[in-house]
C-alpha cells in the first residue's frame, strides 16, 4: 500500500457484490446510450439505402432544363452525377396502355435500373422494355423485335426496335402498365410530357446552399427546382416541416436518453456513496481532508467506470449488430453489401462521453456531500435524518401494519433517495412513452401491406366466371382467393340522413312525400365474401359484419368516408337499423344498415352518392350480376413461381393479370427497415428500463443489509421483512410510475400536438401503454426484491448485523 488511494481498490475488492451492482448500472446506462445512438446512426445508413431504392438516388431535380443549365450543373465540383429523365407520357401498344420515358444511361444506376439483356437504347428508333412485359402474357417480345407504339402526347404511331430488356419497376408491374425507355438524347421531335434533370450531389455537400447557388447562378425560378425530401430528410438536410418535426422530436428524445443515462448512473453512485458515509467520517477523524475524501470517491468512480464502459459499449454494439443482422437476413438484396459488424463511431463516442461525464458529475456531488459530513455524526452513527418538529400523527400505522408502515416511511423519510429512485424509474417511463411517438409516425408515414392486400389480381370487365374462381382456389400454393363484384344502383333513404354538405353540393334534391329523396347519383355497391368481411373488421365503426345475418335480414353495410375526386367527404349520416331502398330489376328492395365501415381499400373514379357493401348472395339479388369483376389471390409464398405459372395459364385475353408481389415485398421491406429500428428503440429502452429498475432495487436492498439484519434481530419475521422491503420498493415504483406516466404523457402530447400539426397524427390518451407500464413496473419491482431478500435471509442475523 503506497497511497491512501489504495483504500479504494481494497474497498471495491472487499465489496464485490456492491461493486458489481454499481458497475452493472453504469454499464446499462452506457449500453443504453451507445445502443440507441448507434442504432440511430446505422438506421440512417440503412434508411438512406432504402430511400434510394424506393425513390432513386438524386437530391434535386430541375424541371425543363436548358442545355446550358444541364452543362453548368453537371460540371459543378459538388455534383457527383446528373442525368436526364424524360417522360413522354402515356401510349399504347395494341391497345395495351403503357408509359414512355427516357433515362440517361449514366444515371441509370441511381435509379436501380439494370440492363438484363441486349443494350441500352442509343439510337432514335431503339427502345428498352421491362422484363415482365416481354412475357407472352403481355407484349410477347424479344430483343431485336420491332414494336409499334402510339404516343398519346402527339397521337402519333412510331416504330421501334427493342434494343434491350431491363429489370422490373415494381409499381408498373403491379398496375400492369409496361414502362418503355427510349434513347434520351435522340428523340427531340417527340412531345415531352415532363423533362427533368436529376442531380446527385457529392457526400457532405450542403445541399440547400448548393441549390441556392445554382438558382442564383443560372437564374432558375424557385419552383423549377424540386427537392427529393425523403432522401434529404434521411441525410439530415431537409427543411421540410415533417422532417423538421422528426429532427426536433429526435433531438428531444435523444436528449432524454442522455438524461436517463445520467440519472441512472447518478442514482446508483449516490446510493453507493451514501452507504459509506460512516467510513468517510472515520477517515476524516483520522485526518483525511475533504479533498482527500473527494479524491477517494472520484477514484472509486473512475475505476468502476473504466471497467463498466467497455462492457456497456460492447452490449450497445451487440444490439446494433443484431439489428443489422436481422435486416440483412430479411432483405439481403438491398443490404447484402453492408457488413453486420457495423460500428458507429458516434454511438460509441456518445456512450463513452456519457459514461465518463456522468460518473464525473455523479461522483463529485455525492463526494462533496460525503466530504462535508461531520466526522462526529459519522462516527457516533447518529444519522443525519432530520426529525421533523411537527409531531408525527402515526397515520401510516393506523392504516397499515407496522411492517408496511415502516417500509413506506423508510422510502419517504429520505427525500433525496426517494427523488432519485423515482426519477430513475420515471425517466425510463418517459423515454418509453416518448419513443412510442415514432411508432405512430411510422404507421402514418409509411404504407404497409394489409391482410387483404392481394399478390395477384385478375380483372375483367366482362366478369370472371365462377369456374375460374374455383379453379384458382384449388391451385396448390394459393392461400386465399376472393372475388369482388362491383355495381351501381339507385339507392334512396330518409332524406334527413344526407349531410348538409352533400345537399349543398347537389343543390336541388327532390324529396318525395314519404320522406325519401330521388337519388341524384348512383351508389356504388360492392360484394364481400366471409374473408373480406373479417378483414374489414379493423375499419368497423359500429354494428357487425356477419355474412349469415346479412343474408338473413337483408343487411347492408355503409361506408362512412366517400372519395369524390380523391377528396374524402361524408355524404350520409346513416345509422344502424336505418332502411335503404334499392331499385333492383325485380322492383325496389328494402335493406337494413347493419354496420358502418370507416373506409374501404378501393376507390372509384366515378362520383357516387355513397358506397354500400353487401354479401355475394344479396349482391346478385340486387343487381342480377353473378360474375366477379375482380379476383384477388394471395399466395403462400411470394417467391413461388410455379404457382404463379399455373395461374398465368388460366388467364385469357379478356383478363388483365396484375402482379403486385414485388411491389408488396418492396412496401414490406421499406416498412420493415424502419419498423425494426423504431421497435428496436422502444424494445431497447424497455429492456434497459427493466434492468435498471431491477438493479436499482437490488442495490438499495443490498445496501440495507445491516439495517434489515437489525430488524430481524429485534423480532421481525421473514414475512414481515418481505412486506417492509416490498412496501419500500413499491413506494419508489408508485411515485416513479405516477411521475413518469404524467410527464411521459405530457411529452407525447407536446411532441404530437405542437410539432406534428402537419403530420395529421392525433394525440389520444395512451391508455394501453400506461396499463402496460403499470403492470410491467409492478412485476419488475416484485421480481427485483426477491433475490436480494433471499440472500439476506439466508445469512445468519449476527453475521449481517456485525458487518460494517
Amino acid at each position: 500500500m503506497n497511497s491512501y488511494l489504495s483504500i479504494v481498490n481494497r474497498y471495491l475488492a472487499a465489496h464485490k457484490k456492491k461493486t458489481r451492482l454499481t458497475m452493472i448500472s453504469i454499464a446499462i446506462s452506457v449500453a443504453l446510450v451507445t445502443g440507441i445512438f448507434s442504432m440511430l446512426d446505422v438506421f440512417l445508413q440503412y434508411e438512406k439505402m432504402q430511400v434510394i431504392k424506393d425513390i432513386g438516388n438524386y437530391h434535386i431535380l430541375v424541371q425543363n432544363p436548358s442545355e446550358k443549365e444541364m452543362q453548368s450543373i453537371s460540371s459543378r465540383i459538388d455534383v457527383q452525377n446528373a442525368g436526364r429523365w424524360i417522360d413522354y407520357g402515356r401510349g399504347s401498344i395494341n391497345n395495351i396502355k403503357c408509359r414512355l420515358g427516357a433515362l440517361e444511361e449514366k444515371i441509370a444506376d441511381n435509379f436501380d435500373l439494370k440492363v438484363l439483356e441486349g443494350k441500352y437504347p442509343t439510337n432514335k428508333n431503339e427502345i428498352m422494355i421491362e422484363k415482365w412485359t416481354a412475357e407472352s402474357l403481355y407484349l410477347d417480345k424479344k430483343v431485336n423485335d420491332t414494336i409499334k407504339i402510339t404516343f398519346n402526347e402527339d397521337d402519333t404511331e412510331r416504330e421501334f426496335v427493342i434494343s434491350g430488356i431491363y429489370n422490373d419497376f415494381a409499381y408498373m408491374k403491379a398496375e400492369g402498365i409496361p414502362a418503355l425507355l427510349l434513347s434520351s438524347d435522340s428523340n427531340n421531335e417527340i412531345n415531352k410530357y415532363k423533362d427533368l434533370y436529376m442531380v446527385e450531389f457529392k457526400n457532405r455537400v450542403n445541399i440547400n446552399k448548393a441549390v441556392e447557388d445554382i438558382k442564383n447562378q443560372l437564374n432558375i425560378e424557385g419552383d423549377r427546382v424540386v427537392l427529393n425530401e425523403r432522401l434529404l430528410a434521411v441525410i439530415g438536410q431537409s427543411k421540410n416541416s415533417s422532417a423538421l418535426w422528426l429532427y426536433s422530436t429526435g433531438a428531444v428524445l435523444f436528449f432524454i436518453v442522455l438524461l436517463a443515462g445520467v440519472v441512472m448512473i447518478y442514482n446508483t453512485f449516490n446510493i453507493s456513496v451514501m452507504d459509506r458515509i460512516r467510513q468517510f467520517g472515520l477517515l476524516r477523524c483520522i485526518g483525511a481532508s475533504q479533498s482527500q475524501i473527494k479524491k477517494i470517491v472520484k477514484r472509486q468512480g473512475l475505476i468502476i467506470t473504466l471497467k463498466a464502459i467497455p462492457i456497456g459499449i460492447f452490449a450497445g454494439v451487440i444490439i446494433t449488430f443484431a439489428c443489422s443482422a436481422i435486416l440483412k437476413f430479411y432483405n439481403n438484396n438491398l443490404f447484402g453489401n453492408i457488413s453486420v459488424f457495423n460500428f458507429s463511431p458516434i454511438g460509441i463516442a456518445a456512450g463513452i462521453l456519457v459514461g465518463f461525464l456522468t460518473v464525473f458529475i455523479a461522483s463529485s456531488l455525492p463526494a462533496k456531500k460525503a466530504a462535508s459530513v461531520s466526522p462526529v455524526n459519522a462516527v457516533t452513527g447518529s444519522n443525519e435524518t432530520k426529525t421533523k418538529k411537527t409531531k408525527k400523527k402515526g397515520l401510516l400505522t393506523k392504516i397499515f401494519h407496522a411492517d408496511i408502515a415502516m417500509g413506506i416511511n423508510n422510502a419517504t423519510i429520505k427525500k433525496k433517495t426517494l427523488i432519485l429512485m423515482s426519477c430513475s424509474i420515471a425517466i425510463s417511463i418517459i423515454m418509453f412513452l416518448g419513443f412510442n411517438v415514432f411508432i405512430d409516425f411510422m404507421h402514418k408515414a409509411l404504407k404497409t401491406t394489409k391482410p387483404y392486400t392481394p399478390d395477384i389480381s385478375l380483372i375483367s370487365e366482362e366478369g370472371l366466371s365462377n369456374d375460374l374462381y374455383k379453379d384458382l382456389s384449388d391451385i396448390e400454393g394459393v392461400k386465399n382467393v376472393y372475388g369482388r363484384m362491383f355495381g351501381y344502383v339507385d339507392a334512396t333513404f330518409d332524406a334527413e340522413k344526407l349531410t348538409d354538405n352533400y345537399k349543398e353540393m347537389m343543390e336541388d334534391i327532390e324529396v318525395t312525400d314519404n320522406g325519401l329523396f330521388i337519388p341524384p347519383e348512383k351508389s356504388w355497391i360492392i360484394s364481400y365474401d366471409t374473408n373480406q368481411l373479417k378483414w374489414a373488421k379493423t375499419d368497423l365503426l359500429e354494428g357487425e359484419l356477419s355474412e349469415d345475418k346479412m343474408n338473413e335480414k337483408n343487411g347492408v353495410i355503409v361506408v362512412a368516408r366517400q372519395f369524390r375526386n380523391n377528396i374524402a367527404t361524408h355524404t350520409t349520416n346513416l345509422q344502424l337499423g336505418d332502411s335503404v331502398y334499392i331499385k333492383t330489376p325485380n322492383g325496389t328492395k328494402e335493406l337494413t344498415v347493419m354496420g358502418i365501415l370507416r373506409t374501404v381499400p378501393f376507390s372509384d373514379s366515378e362520383l357516387n352518392l355513397t358506397t354500400f357493401i353487401t354479401t355475394e348472395k344479396l349482391f346478385t339479388e340486387l343487381t342480377n350480376k353473378s360474375r366477379f369483376e375482380a379476383i384477388d389471390i394471395q399466395l403462400n409464398s411470394r417467391k413461388d413461381e410455379k404457382t404463379v405459372d399455373v395461374i398465368k395459364n388460366k388467364v385469357d385475353d379478356s383478363i388483365t393479370y396484375l402482379d403486385a408481389r414485388q411491389k408488396n415485398s418492396d412496401i414490406n421491406q421499406t416498412f420493415f427497415t424502419m419498423a425494426l429500428f423504431v421497435y428496436g428503440f422502444v424494445a431497447v429502452i424497455a429492456l434497459i428500463s427493466i434492468l435498471n429498475i431491477i438493479n436499482t432495487m437490488n442495490t438499495s436492498i443490498t445496501n440495507k443489509t445491516r439495517y434489515l439484519g437489525v430488524m430481524r434481530a429485534v423480532g421481525m419475521t421473514g414475512k414481515q421483512l418481505d412486506k417492509m422491503v416490498l412496501a419500500e420498493a413499491f413506494t419508489y415504483s408508485v411515485v416513479g410510475c405516477i411521475a413518469g406516466c404524467i410527464l411521459g404523457v405530457l411529452l407525447q402530447k407536446f411532441l404530437i400536438e405542437s410539432l406534428a400539426e402537419t403530420m395529421t397524427i392525433f394525440w389520444k390518451f395512451p391508455l394501453t401503454q400506461v396499463i402496460f407500464i403499470v403492470i410491467i413496473t409492478s412485476a419488475v419491482t416484485l421480481l427485483s426484491v426477491i433475490s436480494p431478500l433471499k440472500r439476506i435471509k439466508a445469512k445468519a442475523v449476527s453475521e449481517v448485523v456485525n458487518s460494517l
Binding site: 500500500m1 483504500i7 475488492a13 485526518g287
Partner: protein, 226 residues
C-alpha cells in the same frame, strides 16, 4: 509546557424548549506528557468536550488552543491537515477500516499526510501492541482487545501532539481493558505522549496523572491520582 488550553468553551444544542447546554464555560489546560482522564455520568457532556478538543465539532462559544494554535480560527482544510498531524483519536467502537489489514490501518494516517510510512517505527509499534504476528490480518479477524490496541497504534503512528480516547475500554472485558490502559500509560511514559481519555471506570481513571470531572456541562478538577 502547556500543549492544550480551552477558554470559556460552551456548547448548546437545539433552541427554545429543547435547548440543552452540553458544556458551560469550560476552561482548563493540559501540559505536554500528561495523561488526563475525564469522568462523569452519561450525558454530562464528556463526549462533547472531547469532540471539541479534537476539532470534530464546533463550539457555540469559546476557544481551544492546541500547540498554541486556535483550532476554530482555522479553515476546514487547514484543520484537517492540522488534525491528522497533531491529534490521534481512539474510539469506543474502534472504527478501523474493515478492508485494510493491521499494518495498513496503522499506516493510513501517514499515507493521508502524503508521507512515506517509516516501516521501522510501524514495526516497533506493532511490537509494542503485540500485533507483529497479525500484521496481515483484517480487523474482523482480531479480538476486541486486539482491535482496540490497533486503534491506539493507529493514533500513535503520526506521533501526534495529543491523543483523544473516547471510552477506549467501553467494549472490552477487564483483562483486555487493563491491557489497553497499560498500553496508553506506556505510550505516555515512553514517547512523552499527551493523552486525554474519557472513561466510566474510576479504577482506570486512576491510571491518569489528572482527573477531570464533568457534570451537567461543568468541568471540575478532581486532582491527580499519582
Amino acid at each position: 509546557m502547556k500543549i492544550l488550553k480551552t477558554v470559556n468553551l460552551s456548547k448548546t444544542y437545539g433552541k427554545g424548549n429543547i435547548k440543552v447546554e452540553a458544556l458551560k464555560n469550560v476552561s482548563f489546560s493540559v501540559n505536554k506528557g500528561e495523561f488526563v482522564s475525564i469522568v462523569g455520568p452519561s450525558g454530562s457532556g464528556k463526549s462533547t468536550l472531547l469532540n471539541l478538543l479534537g476539532g470534530l465539532d464546533t463550539p457555540t462559544k469559546g476557544k481551544v488552543y492546541l500547540d498554541d494554535r486556535d483550532l476554530f480560527s482555522m479553515k476546514e482544510k487547514e484543520l484537517s491537515v492540522f488534525r491528522r498531524r497533531n491529534i490521534g483519536f481512539v474510539f469506543q467502537a474502534y472504527n478501523l477500516v474493515p478492508e485494510l489489514n493491521v499494518e495498513e490501518n496503522i499506516a493510513l494516517p501517514i499515507l493521508l499526510d502524503y508521507k512515506k510510512p517509516d516501516m521501522k517505527h510501524i514495526n516497533e509499534l506493532l511490537d509494542i501492541l503485540g500485533l507483529s504476528e497479525r500484521k496481515h490480518h483484517l480487523p474482523n479477524q482480531l479480538s476486541g482487545g486486539q482491535q482496540q490496541r490497533l486503534a491506539i497504534g493507529r493514533a500513535l503512528a503520526t506521533k501526534p501532539s495529543i491523543i483523544l480516547a473516547d471510552e477506549p475500554t467501553g467494549n472490552l472485558d477487564s483483562k483486555n481493558s487493563k491491557d489497553v490502559i497499560n498500553l496508553m500509560r506506556m505510550s505516555v511514559d515512553k514517547y512523552n505522549q499527551t493523552l486525554i481519555m474519557i472513561t466510566h471506570d474510576q479504577n482506570y481513571a486512576s491510571y491518569a496523572d489528572r482527573i477531570l470531572n464533568v457534570e451537567d456541562g461543568v468541568v471540575t478538577e478532581l486532582g491527580g491520582a499519582r
